[in-house]
Symmetry: C2
Subunit: 363 residues, 2 copies
C-alpha cells in the first residue's frame, strides 16, 4: 500500500484516538484502524484505564476475519501486562499481516520492544507515519516518559494590551463564555491545575471541569507562606484532589492551625519568595502527573518564563483595553528583543469574541 | 431586477472602486457598472482628481449603447461642477433608465440633490444597496463631511503582552515585514500621519509610503515644547509635507533658532503637557484632511483614548513576550471593566507572523 494511503488510514486512527482525549489518564489516547483489501474492516480507540486498548477494540469490532489485514495504530502496541494483556500477543494471534505505527511508545517497558516482538513474529512493521500528529495527541505522555517531568502549559487570560486586571484588581468576566469553555477543555486534558496563593485569595476558584464533560483535575496551590485561611473552596473540598505545595515548616504550621482534611501536602524547597518550581515538577513527576496546567497568577507566570519551564503558552486575549493595570508577566524582563523567548510554532484562533494564541516555546 | 442581482452588481462596482484606494484624494473612491439585459456592458472607477468620475468612465467604456441600461454606482452621482462637469447631466443625456446607488454623497453640494435631479428627469433611482460596504470605501470622506472632522485611526505595534518596547526602549524590528507593508498601506490611504515629539526623537522616522505604491501622506509632529533639533528626517525633508503642530510661542522660538524651511506650522492651544487634540482635529478639518493616522507613541495613544477621539484602532500584535517594558497605553486607566471602551465591531487577521486587530470604537 502506498505512502498516501498509509497517511489517510493513520489520519482516521488519529481521529478515533481523539475521542478518548481527557478520559484515558494515566494511559495515552490511542486509535486503531484495520484495513483489508483497501477497505476499513475494524475501528477502535482506547476508552480509559482497564478498558480495551485501541488495537484490541478494532480487532473485536472487525466486520470480517482480520487475517492478512493491516493494522494502523497511533502508538506502538504494548508488549507488557498492565491492567490488560500485551497487545502484541493478540496481534500475532489474529494473523494480522502488517502493522503501521505512527509513533513509538516512549514508556520504558515498551519503547521499541513492541515493534521488535512483532517483527520477530514475521509481521511487516512500518513506523513514523504521521509521527508528529500522533505525538500531539499525547504531549504530556511523551514529555513525561522522555524527559521525566510533566508537560507544562501556562494559560493566561488578558486584555488586548496585556493586562490581567485593572489597577483595582477587577478581572471578572474578562474572557468570553466560549473561551471559558476552552479553558475547561484544557483542564479536562490536564492531570493537575496549578495556581499561586494570591490567585486562591483573589479568585477563590473551583478549578473544576464544568462546561465540558470530563474528570476534574487535581489542584495544586503553590504558596511559600501558606498565609491564607481555610475558607476557600479548594481547601474545603473533600474530593482528595487538592494539593498544597509549600515548605515543610509552613505545612506543619498550616496543618496545626486549620481544620482542613482530605488535603495532600507536598513539602518542597523554597526559592526566593516562592517555591522551587523545578522541585515542584520533580514531585509532580513522582506523582505520575503527565501534564500540568498553570492558571495564574502573573507572578507565577513570570517565574515559569524566567526559568524556561513552559512548553506551551495559551494566551486568551479579550478585545478590551485596560491601560494601567496588572501586567500578564509582571515580573519578567528581557534586556533587548534579541534575547526574547521564541516560539518554535504557534497559531492564533478565534474563540468566541476572543483570540487565543497557542504557542510552543523553543526548548 | 431583483434585490440579489442588484447586490451582486453593486459588489462588482465596489470592487472596481477599490482600485482607486489611496489615489483619489481629496475625492472619494467610486466604482460604477452598467448593466443591460442582465449583462455588464460597461465598467469604470475614479482614478484621481481631474480624471473621469466612475459613472463617466463606465459610460465611455461601454461596449454597446447605454440607452435603457441600469447604472450601479457606489456613491451618489454629483450634480455640481468641480474639476469635471456634473455626472447627473451625463447620465440623463445617456438615456440610462435606472440608477442604483449604494450610498448618498455626504458632501453638502450633493447630499441627496443628485438623486432628486435624476428622479425629476424620469430615471428610476434605488438607494442604499450595500450601503455599509460602500461607506467603508470612504470612511474618511463620510466622517469629514458628516462630522466636520477627520476620521481618526490609531495604529500601534506591540508585543503579545502589550508592550511597545523593552525597558531599555528597544523596539526595532518588532513587527514582521508583512505588517510593515500593511502599515504602509494604511499610510497610503491616509491624508496625514501624526506622531508625538518623543517618537520623532526615538525613531527618527520617514513616515513615507515605501512598500506599496501610493502618494506620501503629510506628516504632523505634535509637540508642545518643540525641544528637538533640526537633525531629524522629517524636519530636513523639503517636500512641503511636514507640519509642526505646537503652541504659537514654541513655534516662534523654533523658527528663530532652526534653519529648517519648507515646514508648515500649525499654532494650536496647549493642553496639559501636550497640545489640545480637539484643536488639532479642527485644524486638520480646515486643512481638508479626511483621515489622520496616529502612529505613536504610547502617550499620544493614551490621550486619544482618554478623549475618545479614536474611530479605528489598528493593533499589530507580534508573538513575542517582553515582560517589563513600555506599555502600549501607558497613560490610560479605567476604574473597572464596566467602564472600558468597547468596539462596535472588530476583526482579527493574520498578517505575516503577526496578528492584527482592526476595531471600531462605539461612538
Amino acid at each position: 500500500m502506498g505512502f498516501e494511503a498509509d497517511k489517510n488510514y493513520m489520519m482516521q486512527a488519529i481521529k478515533l484516538a481523539k475521542k478518548g482525549i481527557g478520559r484515558t489518564k494515566p494511559n495515552p489516547t490511542v486509535g486503531a484502524v484495520l484495513v483489508k483489501q483497501n477497505k476499513v474492516i475494524g475501528q477502535g480507540y482506547h476508552k480509559g484505564p482497564g478498558k480495551d486498548h485501541a488495537e484490541i477494540a478494532a480487532i473485536k469490532n472487525a466486520t470480517q476475519s482480520v487475517t492478512n489485514s493491516t493494522l494502523y495504530v497511533t502508538l506502538e502496541p504494548c508488549c507488557h501486562s498492565g491492567r490488560t494483556g500485551p497487545c502484541t500477543d493478540e496481534i500475532i494471534k489474529s494473523k494480522i499481516k502488517r502493522v503501521v505505527i505512527a509513533s513509538k511508545d516512549p514508556f520504558s517497558l515498551v519503547n521499541g520492544k513492541g515493534v521488535r516482538i512483532l517483527r520477530k513474529a514475521g509481521i511487516e512493521v512500518t513506523t513514523n507515519i504521521l509521527h508528529k500528529e500522533a505525538q500531539m495527541l499525547n504531549e504530556g505522555y511523551f514529555v513525561f516518559h522522555k524527559e521525566k517531568r510533566p508537560f507544562v502549559t501556562l494559560k493566561l487570560a488578558q486584555s488586548l494590551d496585556g493586562k490581567i486586571a485593572t489597577v483595582e484588581g477587577d478581572s471578572k468576566y474578562l474572557s468570553s463564555k466560549e473561551s471559558l469553555k476552552f479553558v475547561h477543555q484544557l483542564r479536562m486534558q490536564s492531570d493537575a491545575v496549578v495556581i499561586g496563593g494570591n490567585t486562591l485569595r483573589t479568585d477563590n476558584p473551583q478549578l473544576t471541569v464544568r462546561m465540558v464533560k470530563g474528570e476534574n483535575p487535581y489542584r495544586i496551590v503553590l504558596s511559600k507562606r501558606l498565609d491564607f485561611s481555610d475558607k476557600y473552596a479548594l481547601i474545603r473540598n473533600k474530593d482528595n484532589k487538592t494539593i498544597i505545595a509549600s515548605t515543610d515548616r509552613a505545612i506543619k504550621r498550616f496543618i496545626k492551625s486549620k481544620r482542613s482534611s482530605n488535603i495532600i501536602y507536598w513539602s518542597l524547597k523554597p526559592h526566593g519568595n516562592s517555591i522551587d518550581l523545578n522541585d515542584l515538577l520533580s514531585k509532580a513527576y513522582e506523582f505520575e502527573f503527565h501534564s500540568l496546567l498553570f492558571e495564574g497568577g502573573a507572578e507565577l507566570a513570570s517565574s515559569l518564563l524566567r526559568e524556561k519551564l513552559v512548553d506551551r503558552l495559551i494566551l486568551v486575549i479579550t478585545p478590551y483595553i485596560i491601560g494601567k493595570g496588572i501586567d500578564s508577566f509582571v515580573d519578567y524582563e528581557i534586556k533587548n528583543l534579541q534575547s526574547k523567548l521564541s516560539f518554535s510554532s504557534y497559531e492564533f484562533k478565534e474563540v468566541g469574541k476572543d483570540i487565543v494564541l497557542e504557542g510552543y516555546f523553543k526548548k
